[in-house]
């Protein structure tokens, strides 16, 4: 099998100079210097537009009365490839299952979004949000209350029958 070789043409000799080439370069840099369109995004003031399919910090959906939608079925800790979800389920007098402990370690999470895909009651979601810095490592383990308190929109998951999300 012959390897494909990309031949790089070196600039031919005898076509330039020190001074004229310098002036030519200075013309190019001058155009950039006065060009007002800069690539820098001044972050805290300006914010990047992130995709509606962005998979960021998790959100736990709630019922109208404030209870989490989660039924503690145990599918999300099972499917989680990073093993970052800790779930201890309980059952109330009516026989409804609910999470006693529901913790997500956002540090370990790889934001694959499989918890959202697997959830049968559409309770856990990954969200359109990226600013989750903290001062300590412990703060990255989000408990149930904190997951329910997140107010950013949840991610639009990719639908195979509608590939461009229309």
């Amino acid at each position: 099998m012959a390897a494909t070789v990309k031949v790089m043409r070196r600039p031919s000799e005898g076509s330039s100079s020190y001074l004229r080439a310098t002036l030519k370069g200075m013309a190019i840099t001058f155009k950039h210097m006065i060009n007002p369109t800069k690539v820098t995004l001044e972050y805290p003031e300006e914010r990047p537009e992130i995709s509606p399919r962005w998979r960021g910090t998790h959100v736990m959906e709630t019922h109208a009365d404030g209870r989490p939608k989660c039924v503690a079925c145990g599918l999300c800790p099972t499917v989680c490839p990073a093993n970052c979800i800790r779930l201890v389920g309980g059952e109330d007098d009516m026989g409804n299952r609910y999470p006693i402990v529901y913790e997500i370690d956002e540090f370990r999470c790889i934001f694959c979004g499989m918890c959202q895909e697997v959830c049968p009651v559409e309770a856990i979601h990954v969200g359109v949000h990226f600013e989750n810095s903290e001062y300590t490592r412990e703060r990255f383990v989000y408990d149930l209350d904190r997951l329910m308190a997140q107010d950013h929109p949840s991610t639009l998951l990719w639908d195979p029958s509608d590939p461009v999300s229309e």
């Binding site: 070196r10 076509s15 100079s17 080439a21 840099t29 001058f30 006065i34 060009n35 690539v39 820098t40």
Partner: protein, 438 residues
Amino acid sequence: MQELSPTAFVVFAAVKVIAVFSVILLAVAYMTLAERRVSAFIQDRLGPNRVGPFGLLQPIADGIKNILKEETLPATANRFFFILAPALSVTPALVTFAVIPFAAPLPTRWGVVDMIVADLPIGLLYVLALASLGVYGLFLAGWSSNNKYALLGGVRSSAQMISYEVALGLSLIPVLILAGNVTLTEIVWQQQQLGLWYAVPLSLAFILFVVSSFAETNRLPFDLPEAESELITGYHTEYSAMKFSMFFIAEYSHILTASALMATLFLGGWSVPFWDGDHMFWYEGALISGFAETGEPILASPAWWKTLVTFLAFAVKTSFFVLVFIWVRWTLPRFRYDQVMHLGWKVMLPTALAYVMLVAITVLALDQLGVEGLLFGLALTAVSALATIVFVFFVDRDRIITGAAAPRDRSISGSTMHPATPTERLATPVVAARLEGE
């Protein structure tokens, strides 16, 4: 308008020293900011704009940071020279400014004050002497650090500065031929009298001076002594905190002085273009603005607003060259060492020598023919323009930088490098020889 009394002279000299020193240091601080902002703009970025409005307080933040940082002293360094070197490099850069006139003379109640720290009779020679002193600071820094990279940076800086000093000095000789004196006040005066800035009648000298100044100040594309990528900033590798800052202050004050020199020698110094009101010169104890037809000197009328306007003109010209320094730095990559030496010795030096001869012959011929005034300047402009065209389009050609690794005559063609079939592969001389050996 009379000259100053000795007491007033001393007082005004002290005031001028302090004022010029502070202005230079302030300008240097803001040149670091200008460098960062302009470099950012050239690269389509924004640059530091967080500290104060438009980042204007950034130099102060940098200064505080550098003062508070830890001073390191390498264990194997030569302590005495290690500490001496930054001082040695910053001092000549700052004191060179003393002989540069920065505005028209200012009339005061005690007499007319020259807007120059020291109007030395040896003006330009003093500048050249101190400019060469700068290399000691750099070389001592490199040597005393006892670090191989620092030493290489120091060696490079001395070789480079000595090489370009020759072209720098030679490019100034046409100016001296025209001005007939080495004091910078007289050079400004002669330009006013000629009615042309020396950049016009001495265009090639101007180009050569600008290029050698870049080499003298160790700015890109001649920043081999620093060479971040290969020598980890060269001679100041081992320096930290304020001592490191000193080298930066030295570099930027060199740029400022070089820019002021270019403005003074080639762009008429503080004189405002197309205006006769600022012509002022000390002639036999009186401040004159020119000579009448009969040869009688005409007295000048200095005014505070004229001083202000001429200072602004000087500041604008100097800042233009500072901007050019920054602009070129962010345009060109660094030269290889052999290219620097090639440019210095094989291009700049012969050109400067030939140009000195050309200007001398032209001036002599024009003097013999009795040509004077503006016509003299225009004739010299024509000759210089011709020399510049010859230099730019004929001498300075075929200078493309060939790759060091693969010169054209030794390059390997695609077919021998990648034979199509195994048989062809075996047929190459290298493989055949190896097969025979087995």
